[in-house]
Each structure stands twice: as C-alpha cells, then as structure tokens.
C-alpha cells in the first residue's frame, strides 16, 4: 500500500519533471520589408498565458516546454506560429499584413472590417501625412484619395479648399471634419505626425450617419493611440527650404516701351522719351518674395500595457512664409490615453492643446500689388528710405509689409473624454463629451509713417484689438450590439447626441498712441477721442438621434441601413427637424464558389447605395428679421449722431436645410493574391433645396432674401488602382487615382442668374456648372481699319483691338454677344503614386494633376492707372499690323479690358507632388546607442508644375464656389526641399 503511494508519487514527480522539462528558446524577430528588427513583438506559448516581448533589438528569450508552438504577433504584421521542436534558436521574419481585408476601417461612430464595408470610403494611412511639409494634413490627400479635390495655398496656417465629389452647393461646400469622433470645422490644430489614419466617407451610406452635416462628405481623422508593447519614444525631425516659383514681370525698359504705346493709344503723349535707357529696373516680386526655412519637430511616447494605452506627443511647426510677416508657428501637445478600469469599463481621452502665432499678411497689399508697381521705381530712394512709387496707397510693397504689425495668437483645446462600458456580453455603451475651445487675440497696430510725400502714409497711429472665443461642446451617447449567430452577423447602433456652439468677439480701437514701442500696443496707451468698441456673439444648437444596422449573411451578402434625425436651432420651429436615411447593399463575391474557382481573383465585391444627407452651413439666425446696428444707419442732426436702424434685408421665415440625395454604385477588386487592387465607383448626387438668394428686382430696395429653391447635380467616376509586389530585397508599388466631376445647376428658383466673381466676371445659371466665366469670345485682333469695317459693328474699335465674335449674328457687338467662356471646375483630377524599395532604401514619386479647369487671370487685367506694370506675356501685344493675333494693343480701359476669352486661361496642370528618398539605418551602431530604428529622408514637394497658365501658380483656392478660379490676391504655392529623420528608441 505505501509502496503504491510512493510509486504513484514518483510517477507524478517524473510526470512533473517531464512537464518541468523546459527549454529556453531565444532568437530575433525581423521585418521582411526592410530587414529591420522589430521591438515589442509579442511571443506567446500557444494555448497558455506564458509569453514575452521582444526587446529594442528584436531579441527575445523565453523558457517553454519542449513541446509546443510559439505564436509571434505584432500590429500590422501577419502572425506566425512556429513549433518549438528541438530548436534552441528561433529567428522569425514577419510579413506585413497585406491591404488587409480584416483590417478595420473607421466609419462614423464605429469601425467595420474592410470586407464588410458597404459604403464608398477612401483610406489614407498616417505615414502619408507624417512626412508632409505643409502645416495642414489635408494637403496630403491630393492624388492619394480619389474623389477628393484639394486646392492648396502657400500661406502658412490656412486651410486649403476641399471638395469631395464635386461642389454640392453655392454656399459652404467644405466637408465635415471629425477628429476622434469630435466634429470640427477646420483641422488647423492637428499635428501631421499625430495622425494614424484618415478615412474619407464619400457616399450617402457612409455619410448619412452624420445627417445634416454630411452632404459635402466627411473626413474622419483618427489620431495615434498607444499600441507598442514596449514603451517607445519617437523623435521626428525635419528642416526644409520653401522656395517660391519665379514670376516674370517686364524690365523697366520694356515697361517704358509698353506705357508709351498705351499713352499714345489713349490719345496722350508718351511718358518716357528714351525707354531703353531705363534698363533693368526693379524686380518688385524679387524684392518681397524669398525662400525661407521650415521646421517641424515632434517627440512622442507610445505604450500599450495590460490595462492602459498611452500616446503622448509634443510638437513644433514653424513656417515663416515666403513673404515677411506672413508666417505661422504652432506648438501642440497631445494626450491620447485610455485606461481600463475593469474588464468591462474603460475611460479615455483624446485631447490636444495648441498654441499658435500667426502673422496676418494683407493679401491685397502684397500679392495684390507686386505685379502692378512700376519697375522704373526703386525700392529705396538715394537716402536709403523707402521710395514713394507714386501708385496707390500701398504701392511700395516692402514698405507696406514693414509698416504692418498684425498678428493673432491662439490658444486652443480640442478633444474628447469618453466612457466605454461593455455589458451583457455583446453590448457596448459609449458616452463621450467633446470640446473645442479657442481663444484668439488679434492685435493690429498701424504706426504713423510717410513713404515720401505721396499717398502711402498714415497720419494717425492706431491700435486694434480683437479678442474672440469659441466654446463648442458635443455630447454623444451610443449603444452598439454586435453578434454573430452561425452564418449571420449583425451590428446594431443607436445613439443620441447634443451639440452647442458659441462664439463671441470683443473689439476695441484707439488712436493717437502715446508712443509706438510694442510695449504700448494696448488700448490704454491711446487717446480716448475717437475710440470705438464692439461686441457680438453667435450661437447654435443641434440635437440628434441616430441608428444603424449592418447585417451580413455568410460573409457574402451585406446590407446596411442608417437613419438620423437632426433638429437644429438654425431653422424655425416646425422646420427644425430633418430626417436622413440611407441604405446600401453589397455582394462579397470573394467567398462565392465561382469566384473561388478563379485563382487569380482574391477579392471581389460589388456594392450600391442610396441616401439623403443635409447641409446646415448657413448663418445662425437666418430666419430672424435682424435690425442693423451699424453707424451707417445713424442719422446726423446738428452735428450729433442719432440712433438709426433698419432691417438688414428681407427675411424668409421658412428657411431650412439643403438636402443632398446621393447614389453610388461600385466595385472593389483584388487580384493575384491582393497584389493588384481596384476600387471603382460611379457617383451621382443631387442637392435639393439649395439656398439661393431669391432674386428680387432692384426696385425692392432691400437685398434679396434666401429660399430653399435651388438644385445642383454632381456626377462622375471615382477610382483607384494599385499594384504592389515584393521580390526578394526589391519591392515596388504603382498606384493611380482618378476622379471625374460633372457639375450642373438644375434649378435656381426665380433667379435667372447669380452674378458673382470680381467685377461681375462669373455667372451661375441653370444647365451650367457653378461659377462659370462669362464674357465675349475674342477671335483675333483687328490688324487694320478695313477688318473693322468688314466685321459686325464693334463701337469704338480701333486697329489692335480684340475682335469679338457676333454670336447672335445681328451685326452689332453688344452685351447680347456674351457667353460662357470657361469654368473653374476641372473635368478630372488624377494622381499617380510610385514606390520603389530596395533593402533599406525607398524612393517615392507622386504626381498630381487637375485637367479641364480654367483660371481667370485677373492679375493681368487689373490696372487702375496708366502706371501699372506688365507681365512678360504683354511683350507679345499688337503694335502694328501683323504683330499679334491674340494679344491686343496696350489700352488702360475700353473693350480690351472687358471680360473675354483673352483673360480666361487653361488652368490644367500636372505637378510633381512628392519625391521622397528614404533610408533605414540598420547599422549595429544604433544598438549601441539604444536606438531601435532610424530613418533619414530627403523630400521634395511641389517641385514643378507642368502648365500653360501664365500666373504665379495654377492652384487657385477660393472662399466660395461663386468666386472660384479667380487669380487675384493669391498667395502662391511653394516648393519644399526637406531633410528629415525619424528616430525610434
């Protein structure tokens, strides 16, 4: 009996010994893409909780039983399972997950597997933004996200114009930005390096969940979260030169010649007896525009532990601009942390604090004047003081810049805090409170100055201060239910959100400051005489319900239905609530037997969607009859002011949302084991109830009122193809995006046409795109009087003037012979993305182009005096029979300056958007200094534009589609040449 027990015990011991018979395995984990070692890789003994993590050098060591399997997993890479067998050393090479179909795509209020996606969504990875030189991340979307049109501006600290799938309204057509679930109007607070991914929601199925704000598309930005199992620091460093593109104006000698001709043509005496003697003269563009250095630094910390995730970053971006006093610099701190309080409850926050300083350059004083100042005038006179150029009140541009002191300091906090509760196994409750708070302080000090004795002067100094604050909050509560029953998978979402926005401004001005030192640029330093003050505020609120159901059967048949109702304070009671439904169907052909038989097809899905979304971007109190409060309505009696007020305009008490009804049909294809990808969509969206000023005749005496009477249609194709391959040490990818836009106004109510633009250059009418250019068709230049006589009656025409076509064949050239002469909306945009990699080197070449859009070259036509300078294009003007058939003789007014095809140029361009060469340093030196990864790169952006356009840049941004494509006061795009490094330790 005891013997049995002892034997049993020994048996157990032996058994245990066997079990305890462990072995220590070690090895190194590397990545196949560039051979770099991977720190923080999780190594688990399969089926147990025994595990470890690779260190900074990718090295691991684990003690495990002889029998078993080790599972190696790492974010973004395919997991590998390797049997322990009898190995003492197991080195592993992990491959990145291919454009993963199990990859999660962020959509509104949740995420979904790419294979389950029924809507049209473009994804752009964070790496595209991190290495970009511009301070606004949205610029990186050019050519990389199909369906998105981005028009940049060279001015630091400004938002580019963004349009998704055409232009949906004549009002505000910018998309909605959602950053980590927080809705914002601009993303100037975002540090490029903090972005993990950007999803662009394009069709109604994806955007309808945002209801009254989704009509212009939604850009969802997800910032980085803690993901690295080993605490990781990352330092991004970049220094670059931004270089303006040259802009050619004529020399003083040429200017003299042209002015003489102009004077003679206007019946006056020539101004310069000997133009040649004027020589080269002053290059005013050169005098004010120059290269400068751009800096961007960021340090971030990233860690994921068992119960929490941390991502903390600090960053600095500084860009002085290519003109003095147009710069912008920004400090950001970001805290994206999540804490698991229990297994089921977690809280977190994604918040950023930004402090920025922006020099407010007056675009009109610089880019509105540089091409007008005569080259015969020097910048400085013989005493070294600024020279009075005799043209305009800001003619000497360097002087105007010198005397400008206008800047804004901003402090901003944007972000949200959230609570996540998982309950009843399949339910998740999320409540989050988001805020957007900003305080901006603008100071504008104008000193006393006199440039010579002319009109460029200021006799009384003044200081202007504007304090404005924004306080927005949004509270969102959602419940999600996600369950798979056998072949069915269902996700159900229901939510309620409330949002309130508030802004207020306080302004004060004083004149006659005691002295002009910056320490006195405060109101108290000014006299009390003539002081003014102002204070105004605005607010709006929205309350919404939303719901979504995603259902899939067998992973093959997918359906998504969403519904949102928004009630907004912007609309009168009774018209407050809008309902925005959508539905989408998709057929995931990948798992169908007939597709599986085709070995070369690895993924195929076709989808179709329909939905209604809204646009609420109108003013806050549109339906109230507001009274004016300005001095312009005060009467003066006995030299004293008496309060006067009138209405600001007629009022429409029935104003409501603009609604966009959108349809989409498309397919996604993966071939050759997903080496080749194609995404193709045909979209069609019609905006109804577009707010249009209900035209009234001038006799009404008040400005037009607005009604929801307009309609606009946008149709086109939105596609992306890519091919990537890895062969040994060599890897490459080729990609292309393409978007077509067909924009047409369908209805404007009683308004026959909307006249807009500069000097009534643009029109919007039914049957044509928004904001097209309108004028005469110039078909040549009159070479002699006989031609004038032979042509239809063109009153006051002389030889050298433009020939306007007699479009209505009535024998007279008058206002009836004007027509559409161009459109600022492109017919299509395309981007190409090429990448070549060999071992640790990688070369990226991206190009982007816009085709079929026209630009109105206002810079060339604008002149208010017989003194303005000329661009070199004018050297080709007519100055005698046979000298030109396109550019007329020099005149300062008259018919040659009327809007005609002479001033509308083809704005198509193709640009070298990015060329980047990067190298991953893998030397053992790095390990000695405990650096896990180091990458250095050289980057060039906007290197060259291939274009026929004569202006300083073919990228013309605009504040509204009604004044699009007008080249006037444009801060031109610049080229960047950057050197940088990314060091991870």
């Amino acid at each position: 009996m005891v013997m049995k027990k002892i034997l049993f015990f020994i048996f157990l011991l032996v058994l245990n010994l066997q079990l305890i018979a462990q072995v220590t395995i070690q090895g190194t984990v590397k990545s196949v893409t560039d051979g770099s070692t991977l720190p923080g890789v999780s190594i688990l003994l399969k089926g147990t909780t025994t595990g470890t993590v690779s260190d900074l050098n990718g090295h691991y060591s684990i003690t495990v039983p002889k029998k078993g399997t080790l599972v190696f997993s790492y974010i973004g890479f395919k997991s590998q399972e390797i049997a322990i067998a009898n190995n003492a050393v197991i080195d592993v090479i992990l491959s990145p997950q291919s454009v993963g179909l199990n990859q999660l795509v962020v959509i509104g209020y949740g995420t979904v597997k790419k294979s389950d996606l029924t809507g049209s969504v473009s994804s752009v990875k964070g790496s595209a933004f991190a290495l970009q030189s511009s301070d606004n991340p949205v610029m990186a979307l050019q050519g990389r996200a199909s369906g998105v049109r981005v028009i940049g501006s060279g001015q630091p600290g400004t938002s580019p114009t963004v349009q998704i799938r055409g232009i949906g309204t004549i009002g505000n057509s910018s998309p909605l930005y959602v950053v980590d679930g927080m809705m914002v109007n601009n993303i100037l607070f975002l540090n490029n390096n903090d972005i993990a991914s950007v999803e662009i929601l394009k069709d109604a199925s994806a955007t309808a969940i945002y209801g009254s704000r989704g009509a212009n598309g939604v850009i969802l930005i997800t910032t980085k979260k803690g993901s690295s199992l080993k605490p990781t620091f990352s330092f991004n460093y970049s220094e670059g030169i931004e270089k303006p593109f040259p802009f050619k104006l004529v020399t003083a000698a040429q200017y003299g010649q042209l002015i003489n001709e102009g004077n003679i043509n206007e019946g006056k005496a020539p101004a310069f007896p000997n133009p040649k003697a004027l020589g080269q003269g002053t290059d005013w563009y050169d005098a004010a525009v120059h290269s400068s250095v751009v800096h961007d630094y960021q340090l971030s910390f990233n860690q994921k532990t068992k119960n929490s995730r941390y991502y903390i970053s600090v960053g600095y971006h500084g860009n002085p601009g290519i003109v003095n006093k147009s710069g912008y610099n920004r400090y950001t701190i970001r805290l994206n942390n999540q804490y698991d309080l229990t297994k089921k409850i977690s809280i977190g926050h994604n918040v950023t604090f930004v402090s920025s300083h922006q020099d407010n350059m007056n675009l009109g004083h610089v880019f509105g004047w540089l091409y007008r100042v005569p080259p015969t005038e020097p910048v400085y006179d013989q005493n070294g003081a600024f020279n009075d150029v005799g043209v305009g009140s800001n003619g000497n541009v360097p002087a105007a810049i010198y005397y400008t002191h206008n800047y804004t300091n901003r402090l901003r906090a944007v972000g949200n805090a959230y609570l996540n509760i998982n309950f009843l196994k399949d339910f998740t409750f999320k409540s989050s409170i988001g805020i957007n708070m900003q305080r901006a302080q603008n100071t504008n000090f104008i000193p006393v100055y006199h440039v010579g004795t002319g009109s460029q002067k200021n006799n009384v100094n003044s200081v202007y201060k504007k304090w404005s604050m924004v306080k927005d909050w949004i509270w969102e509560n959602t419940i999600t239910y996600d369950k798979t029953f056998g072949l069915h998978h269902i996700t159900f979402l229901a939510g309620y959100t409330a949002q309130k926005n508030y802004s207020e401004s306080l302004i004060g001005t004083r004149y006659n400051l005691f002295a002009e030192d910056p320490s006195l640029w405060y109101l108290n330093a000014g006299a009390t005489d003539g002081q003014t003050n102002a204070n105004f505020a605005s607010t709006n609120a929205i309350a919404s319900w939303l719901t979504r159901v995603n259902y899939s059967y067998q992973d093959k048949y997918l359906i998504t239905v969403t519904m949102r109702s928004d009630a907004s304070s912007r609309f009168p009671k009774g018209q407050r609530t809008g309902y925005f439904p959508s539905a989408a169907l998709a057929w995931n052909l990948t798992n169908e037997s007939f597709i599986q038989d085709l070995k070369w097809v690895s993924y195929a899905k076709i989808r179709a969607s329909w939905g209604k979304v809204g646009n609420d971007k109108i003013g806050d109190f549109r339906y109230f009859g507001l009274a004016t409060t300005s001095l312009a309505n005060y009467a003066i009696f006995n030299n004293m002011l008496q309060v006067g007020s009138s209405v600001t305009g007629l009022v429409n008490t029935n104003v409501t949302w603009e609604t966009s009804e959108s349809k989409d049909i498309g397919f996604n294809l993966g071939l050759f084991n997903n080496k080749f990808h194609a995404d193709f969509d045909y979209y069609s969206r019609v905006t109804k109830g577009m707010l249009v000023d209900i035209g009234v005749p001038e006799t009404v005496g008040f400005s037009a009122t607005e009604g929801n009477v307009g309609s606009v249609e946008n149709k086109g194709i939105d596609m992306k193809v890519s091919f990537r391959e890895t062969r040994g040490d060599f890897r490459y990818s080729i990609g292309m995006t393409g978007t077509t836009i067909n924009n047409k106004v369908l209805d404007l109510g009683t308004t026959k046409q909307i006249i807009s633009g500069w000097n009534n250059s643009s029109r919007t009418t039914v049957g044509e795109p928004i904001g097209y250019f309108y004028g005469y068709k110039a078909i040549g230049v009159f070479q002699n009087q006989a031609q004038i006589d032979a042509h239809a009656t063109q009153a006051t025409a002389k030889p050298g003037d433009l020939i306007f076509a007699d479009l209505n064949h009535d024998g007279v050239i008058n206002a009836a012979d004007r027509t559409k002469i161009g459109s600022p909306i492109p017919k299509f945009m395309a981007g190409t993305n090429l990448m070549f990699g060999y071992k640790s080197f990688e070369l990226m070449v991206d190009m982007y182009g816009s085709f079929g859009n026209d630009i109105l070259n206002v810079k060339a036509v604008e002149s208010y005096s017989s003194l303005d300078n000329f661009t070199t294009q004018f050297l080709g003007r007519w100055h005698g029979s046979g000298t030109s058939n396109t550019i007329p003789r020099i005149t300062y007014g008259g018919q040659n300056k009327q809007w005609s095809t002479r001033w509308v140029e083809n704005g198509s361009f193709w640009k070298i958007q990015t060329v980047r060469l990067s190298y991953n340093i893998t030397s053992s030196l790095l390990k000695k200094v405990k650096i896990a990864k180091a990458q250095i790169y050289l980057d060039g952006e906007n290197l060259h534009y291939f274009t026929k356009y004569h202006g300083s840049t073919p990228e013309i941004s605009s504040s509204s589609p009604l004044v699009a494509g007008i080249d006037r006061k444009i801060y031109p795009m610049v080229a960047y040449y950057t050197f940088g490094a990314i060091i991870t330790f």
Binding site: K268, F423, S431, G454, V460, Y496, A498, K500, T532, F536, S538, T539, A541, I542, A543, A567, S568, S569, K573, D620, F621, G625, L626, A627, T629, L631, A632, Y634, A635, I636, F637, N638, L641, Q642, G644, S645, S646, V647, V651, N652, I694, V696, P697, E698, T699, V700, G701, F702, T705, I755, A795, N814, A815, S863, S865, S866, D868, Y892, G893, K897
Partner: protein, 498 residues
C-alpha cells in the same frame, strides 16, 4: 453592478431627451430684431433716422450721384486720371456711347430705391404704432414722404416713368414679382400728392428744436414741390410754392457766395436741405472723399469742373473762383502754395468740396462737409424763371438781381439785367442758374428740362462740345440691364432707342 450601469445609462438618456425642448430655441445675440423696429415709437424713429442716413450712401452722394446728375452735362468731367478704370467708363458715359449695363447709373437707380424702401418702412408701420404725441407720428410720416419724394423725383427726371413702390413686401415670392412702370404723369401726380401732404404736417425750419437741425422742413417740401412743378412746366403752380417759401421769412441769402458750401457755415440761413455728414472716422463722407485734388489728401480728384463751365462765366464773376479751384492757385481759405497735383489729372477741382488746411486726421474720407441739396438761391431763380414765363418781367428781374447782387460782392461786375425779351431773359436766367448752382447736382437734369421748353436745345449744346453721339434716346437713361434681365416676362418696357 450591472443593474447600476443600466440605470446610469437610462438616466443619461432621459437627461438628454428632457433638455432638448428649450435647447434649440436660440435667440439672436447682440442683435435686436424687427420686434423693436416695427412696433414701438422708438423703433419708428430709428427707421426714420436710417432713411436720412441712406442719403449719405455711395450711390446717392458718390459716383451714382456724380454721373447721373453732372458728368453727362457740360459742367463736369469724370476727373481723376486717365488710367483709372472708372474714368474710362465715365468717359463712355459722357460721350453718350455707353450701354444699359453702365455701373454708375445702376448705382443711382438702386440707391434711390434703397431710399424709397427705407422710407416705405416708416410710412407702412408708423400708423399701427402707439405714439405719445400723434403729431410726432404725422411728422415722421411727413419726413419719410419728403425723402421718398426726393428719390422718385430723381428717378422720374432720369428715367421717365418708373415702378411706383409704396410698400415693402415681406413674402419672398411676392417680392420677386416685377412691378410694371408707371407713366411719367402718374409719377408726377404721386409726387405732387405726397409733397402736399408733407407740407401739411412738417414744421417750419424755425419750428424744430436746435438738436433736430437738418430734418425735412415745410420749406424743403415746398421747394421740392416747386421743382416738381417747374419740370412739368406748370409755371404758375411753381411760382405759388416759390412765393410761399420767399414769404415765409425763414430763409435769406448768405452775405458772401463762398458760404454756400463751406464747412464753417453749414445749415445756415440760406440752406433749405443738406445731406448731413460728421467728422467721424467710422462714417465715410462719400460725397467729399471722391472729389478734391488727387494727390493732396483732400480726395480722389473725381468730378472735376469742365473747361466749358470755367469759360462760361461772365467777366469778373467772383463765383468762378469760388466754384473752381485752378491748378497753381494757393489752397482755398488757408492759402498754402506749391500744391502738388497728381499726374494726369484735370487742372481744375470742385472748390465747393475743399476744406481749409491743415486737415484733422482722416479728413477727406470723413470730413463734416455737408452736401447742399437745396438752397434759397434756387428758389429765387425758379421764381424769376416762372415770373418771366408768365410775363411778370419786373418780378423776374427783381429776383434775378437779388442773386446777382449777392454774387457781385459790391464789385463793378455782373451788371444788373434789364432785358425784357422773354426768350432772351429765359436764356439769361438759365445761364445764371448754371453759374449760381454750379456742380451742385442741377445741370444734367436742367438741360433735359430746357430741352422740353425748347426742343433741340440739348442736341445743339452737346454738338457744340463735340459730343455728337447725343441722340433722341439720350433724353432718358436706359432702365438698368440687370432689371431688364431679371424681368423674364416682358413686364418692363425699355426706354425708346435703348
């Protein structure tokens, strides 16, 4: 634990629902609404004041006014310098080679209708508001009617029959309906009715308290009515109104001519109605800032007196130097020399807009110099003209002499007129008007009036200046193209020849 969570969730949801009721009722901040304006006595007063303020607008005292009332005549040139975009356009206008799209005429048309709309609000809403003193309400309505009449009188002389709008419609679709043009006779009948009503309720100039100096008076309404009659050649009605003004004893000529438009002498004894301005850096003087001498900080140099005007004065007429500031002269009233005129400008400027130096800061753009709309000298000259037409020659010569005597300043110039031939005296009086009221917004419409009295007068006058494009169609301005374009149903008829 789970139950607690569920309860928390429900609470949150309930909280959300319950706060939505008042959450969305948001009132405009920092901005009053029509509740105040249309329904209270103070509101009506504010509406009335805003109507006066409209007279200061760029359209009614700036380019729109210059072009419609002076540049087309023989008294004024566009001014400024040749390369200026606006000058090229005004040259076309002056040479009668312009189109219905002409911007400045468009401005004047819109400006007058803006004034009409603002006045309509007062007239429309005042009757329903409780006033502490009903006489105030009657007076406000009378003032609004006077201002509205000013606008319609400018429109009918410029364009002929125009749409008669007397109410502001609030419903958008009704507002978009095009109102047809009334006939010239209908507009004049309306003007006569309106002004007679205003005369009935407006106080005399001396009847206003001092702090209301500048408001419309009985005398102003009578003067305007006299002008209305004169344009219709209703000479005896005109004379009757002129005599009402003359016999009221409220007005007298200034002792010296330079005082008729001078910053130190505003709203004085001779002034019947002026557009009021104030030295205020936030209020633009849209009349003065565009005139003056370009390059001196006194204005942009537009609207310069013409050579024709300069040469038309009688020998030694002091008014020539008080009306025209010639290049090379010392600065008016303060005498600085070596004034630098900008290149390419006419060597003459409207001296009635000049201010003595040194200027307070920001002066040209914000000076307190008022634009004189009507003054006593005009009443005297209208009386002279009507008396002449009616055969009361001695009265005509009496009033004519009153004006010339003041202008003469005791010098041996401007001999007293003794001509008794009606036609000859008529022309003498017309020339006297030209010299007395130079550049005050009379000439272009006066030429049209003379053309009605003596058909062919205008053509002969413009031909003599070399502006041979003048034709029958130029007796009226074209209805702005933008109005014709908006009218898709052909409700509006364009003026003949346009």
């Amino acid at each position: 634990m789970k139950n607690i969570k569920l309860i928390l969730i429900l609470l949150l949801v309930v909280a959300g629902v319950s706060c939505s009721k008042n959450f969305l009722d948001v009132k405009p901040l920092a901005n009053p609404s029509t509740d105040v304006l249309f329904k209270s006595e103070a509101g009506i007063n504010m509406l009335l004041n805003a109507t006066y303020a409209e007279l200061r607008s760029f359209n009614l005292s700036g380019f729109g006014w210059f072009v419609a009332k002076e540049v087309g005549s023989d008294d004024a040139n566009p001014g400024s310098n040749a390369g200026d975009h606006s000058v090229a356009r005004m040259r076309d206008f002056q040479n009668f080679s312009y189109l219905p799209t002409e911007t400045d005429l468009n401005s004047f048309w819109s400006g007058n209708y803006n004034l009409i709309a603002k006045a309509n609000l007062v007239i429309q809403y005042a009757p329903n508001v409780k006033f502490t003193d009903t006489a105030d309400r009657a007076r406000y309505i009378g003032e609004a009617k006077f201002l509205r009449a000013l606008a319609y009188f400018n429109l009918v002389r410029g364009w002929g029959g125009v749409p008669l709008i007397t109410k502001v419609v609030s419903d958008p679709t009704s507002a978009a309906k095009v109102i047809p043009r009334s006939s010239v006779a209908e507009v004049y009948a309306f003007l006569e009715k309106e002004l007679n009503e205003a005369i009935g309720v407006l106080p005399l100039k001396s009847g206003y308290p001092a702090n209301e100096l500048g408001r419309a008076t009985k005398g102003a309404a009578q003067t305007l009515l006299a002008q209305v009659y004169l344009f219709q050649q209703k000479n005896s009605d005109c004379l009757k109104e002129c005599m009402n003004v003359i016999n009221s004893g409220e007005y007298s000529l200034y002792p010296k001519y330079w005082m008729v438009s001078n910053v130190n002498n505003q709203n004085g004894a001779e002034s019947i109605f002026e557009v009021q301005f104030q030295y205020n850096l936030d209020i633009a003087n849209s009349w003065q800032q565009w005139q003056g001498v370009r390059g001196t900080g006194s204005g942009w140099g537009f609207f310069s007196p013409s050579l024709s005007l300069a040469n038309s004065y009688e020998a030694g007429d002091p008014r020539r130097d008080y009306s025209i500031y010639f290049k090379g002269e010392p600065w008016p009233y303060s005498g600085e020399t070596n004034i630098h005129w900008a290149a390419g400008t006419d060597p003459r400027a409207n001296e009635k807009t000049m201010l003595p130096r040194p200027f307070p800061p920001g002066f040209a753009g914000h000076s307190p110099l008022n634009r004189v709309v009507m003054r006593y000298a005009d009443v005297l000259l209208m009386a002279a003209e009507c008396d002449n037409e009616l055969g009361n020659t001695s009265d005509a010569l009496k009033y004519l002499e009153m004006v010339r005597a003041r202008a003469r300043e005791g010098k041996p110039v401007l001999p007293e007129i003794t001509e008794t031939n009606m036609i000859k005296l008529r022309h003498i009086i017309w020339n006297e008007r030209r010299h007395e009221l130079a550049d005050e917004g009379y000439r272009a419409y006066d030429i049209r009036r003379y053309d009605k009295v003596e058909p062919g007068f205008a053509k002969k006058l413009y031909d003599a200046l070399g502006r041979t494009n003048y034709s029958a169609k130029d007796a009226l301005y074209p209805i702005p193209q933008i109005e014709m374009d908006f009218d898709t149903k052909g409700v509006l008829q364009q003026n003949p020849g346009w």
